[in-house]
């Protein structure tokens, strides 16, 4: 885990006029796919724009791959791709012309830009429509074209701002699959900003939750899930008294919630097979065993309830 993180926030604050939008954000994000969550107006897009150099920080600093966003903006911009939330195009251009133009602006020579534009459009699934004018595209196709321009120059970090906005379920699935493909390729890190918890849950390993411009939750979803695997709900038949005592004897916390149900928090060294062994020993039937895990929704709602971080 040595070396600089993908994004480092060091007391980052952004103010528009006198209104603080981002307040003292701190953290080191290292994940392959980082989810940026928060209610409307929480500051997600402002954070992305600040990292892109669109808004100057009013205090603090931020670094991307170890480079300061204020002093090394050009170096950073050559490493990133950005898919904006709103419709953003250049009028009167065919899709392939548009993506090629964007690649050239990123520094690719003309021939390489054209080649990469074709490849990017095939990758996002617009291969057949690449010579059509952007004005004739549907909303879903425009989203794909925006993704193509964000990845055409092969960036190391891709900011996706609400990539599934306005997509129907199959199109959303395709978009999520592409994001996962990029993540799994190991060639780029992704920052995905979304209102849709499911999108983030399906794509991201790390999440950052913002509320009122403050970072209220930062967690690694994988670790969170692993931690939650230790929490079990059992539905049983038979005399529980001795069984519960035996389970407690293993060092596990145990609580009987009704006649036949109990909650168990396993210790590090305890395995589920130990529970089955004890159940056999004390003639208790285990009819159902479920992992209780906090969903992202639980984490998000808790963050919203807890207020400022």
């Amino acid at each position: 885990m040595g070396g600089p993180g993908v994004i480092s926030l060091d007391a980052l604050s952004v103010t528009f006029g006198r209104r603080p939008i981002l307040k003292n954000l701190n953290g080191e994000l290292r994940g392959r796919a980082i989810g940026l969550l928060g209610p409307n107006g929480a500051g997600k897009t402002t954070l992305i724009h600040t990292l892109l150099g669109f808004h100057p920080p009013s205090a603090g600093a931020a670094r991307i791959f170890g480079s300061d966003i204020r002093t090394e903006a050009n170096k950073i911009k050559s490493l990133i791709g950005y898919m904006p939330e709103r419709d953003s195009f250049i009028a009167k251009m065919s899709c392939v012309h548009f993506v090629r133009f964007m690649a050239e602006l990123s520094g690719l020579p003309s021939a390489a830009a054209l080649e990469r534009a074709h490849e990017a459009l095939f990758f996002v699934g617009l291969g057949e429509a690449r010579y059509r004018n952007l004005d004739t595209f549907s909303l879903g196709m425009k989203q794909l074209a925006k993704l193509a321009q964000a990845i055409v120059h092969g960036p190391r970090l891709i900011f996706l701002d609400e990539p599934t906005n306005g997509l129907d379920p199959p199109a959303r699935q395709r978009m999520i699959k592409m994001v996962r493909d990029i993540r799994d390729s190991g060639q780029a890190h992704i920052v995905l900003s979304s209102h849709l918890l499911r999108d983030v849950e399906e794509c991201c390993e790390e999440i950052v939750i913002l509320k009122d411009g403050q970072l209220v939750v930062y967690c690694n979803l994988e670790e969170e899930r692993k931690a939650n695997k230790k929490f079990l709900m059992l539905e049983t038949r038979g005399d529980l008294k001795e069984f519960v005592a035996a389970v407690a004897g293993l060092g596990c916390e145990c609580a009987v919630t009704s006649d036949h149900r109990l909650k168990v928090i396993l210790q590090e060294q305890t395995e589920i097979r130990d529970l089955y062994r004890l159940a056999l020993q004390y003639q208790v039937q285990i009819r159902r065993l479920t992992y209780k895990r906090d969903s992202l929704e639980d984490i998000f709602l808790k963050a919203m309830e807890n207020g400022s971080g």
Binding site: K77, G81, K92, H97, G154, S185
Partner: protein
């Protein structure tokens, strides 16, 4: 990210030099500009005057041709600074109309389609964007103003000889500088108007208004205040003065107005003179600075709404 593989792959190849990236904008813009047959025809017609001038220079040095046409050398226009000044003025006027056709939609289209974040999230600065957009007009107008102007100058030098060239080389710099000032002014004005007026037709009308309405106001000021300083708000007069200054024909106009009573006594005598040449340069500089300020207010990735 090969087409067949359809997998994400980073780009590892060479990059284009950073200084040259602003030229990507005009290169792609000309595709769209020359798609219009009307514009292409107008652009081609704008080379007629340079052609006429080239013929005049040729005739000036070809006694046989003059003989066939039964003309005397004295009947043909003299090829001097005034000849090239007229050339720059005619081509400058044509350039104004070309800029009016090409310029007004350049920035407004990007603003309407929220394209600026796409430019500015790349290693491409706001100033590169502005220079790139300006260079659409600058390159286009260069091809009809100072480039053919210098070609004509070289043609005349070739036909007249080294002594003419060495004695009149300042004309070449006047052609270049005079055209460049005009082109940069037009480029800045069209882009500034384009940034603030999103409707193309209105932007074109605004550009016309910028050049013609102040002329009327200038005349009103001159009449009311009995002065000639009204010229400093008249763009056409300003650039005319600058061209005259560069080609050595600038004369600071002065006039007097005398009011006499019935018995012939002078009741009132007013003396007024036109602004000096430096005032015209200074005003053009101020207008360019104002255009840059207007552009800097609009050319942003996102506008923060107060």
């Amino acid at each position: 990210m090969a087409v067949l593989e359809r997998s994400y792959k980073r780009y590892q190849g060479a990059l284009s030099p950073e200084w040259s990236r602003f030229l990507i904008i005009p290169r792609h813009a000309y595709r769209d500009v020359f798609r219009s047959k009307l514009f292409t025809a107008f652009f081609a017609l704008s080379f007629i005057w340079p052609l006429v001038c080239a013929i005049l220079i040729y005739l000036h040095h070809n006694v046989n041709a003059l003989g066939i046409m039964k003309l005397n050398v004295a009947d043909v226009l003299p090829i001097d600074a005034f000849f090239f000044q007229v050339f720059v003025e005619v081509q400058g006027t044509i350039g104004f109309f070309l800029a009016m056709l090409v310029g007004p939609q350049q920035v407004s289209r990007d603003l309407t389609n929220n394209a600026l974040p796409l430019y500015l999230c790349r290693p491409f600065s706001r100033s590169e964007y502005v220079v790139g957009k300006m260079s659409i007009v600058i390159i286009l107008l260069s091809t009809i103003t100072w480039v053919p102007g210098l070609v004509l100058f070289l043609l005349q030098s070739y036909l007249e000889g080294w002594s003419w060239f060495s004695a009149n080389s300042w004309i070449a710099s006047a052609i270049f500088l005079g055209s460049l000032v005009w082109i940069v002014l037009l480029a800045l004005l069209t882009q500034a108007i384009s940034a603030w007026v999103k409707w193309r037709v209105a932007a074109r009308a605004a550009l016309l208004a910028v050049f013609f309405i102040p002329t009327a106001f200038a005349e009103i000021i001159n009449q009311i205040f009995e002065t000639r300083w009204g010229q400093i708000i008249d763009l056409r007069a300003l650039i005319g003065n600058v061209w005259a200054g560069l080609f050595g024909s600038f004369v600071r106009q002065a006039a007097s107005q005398v009011q006499e009573s019935r018995n012939g006594r002078v009741v009132r005598e007013a003396l007024f003179s036109a602004p000096p040449l430096w005032a015209s340069w200074f005003m053009l500089f101020l207008i360019c600075a104002l255009c840059l300020w207007l552009l800097s207010r609009k050319v942003k990735a996102y506008e923060v709404v107060k």
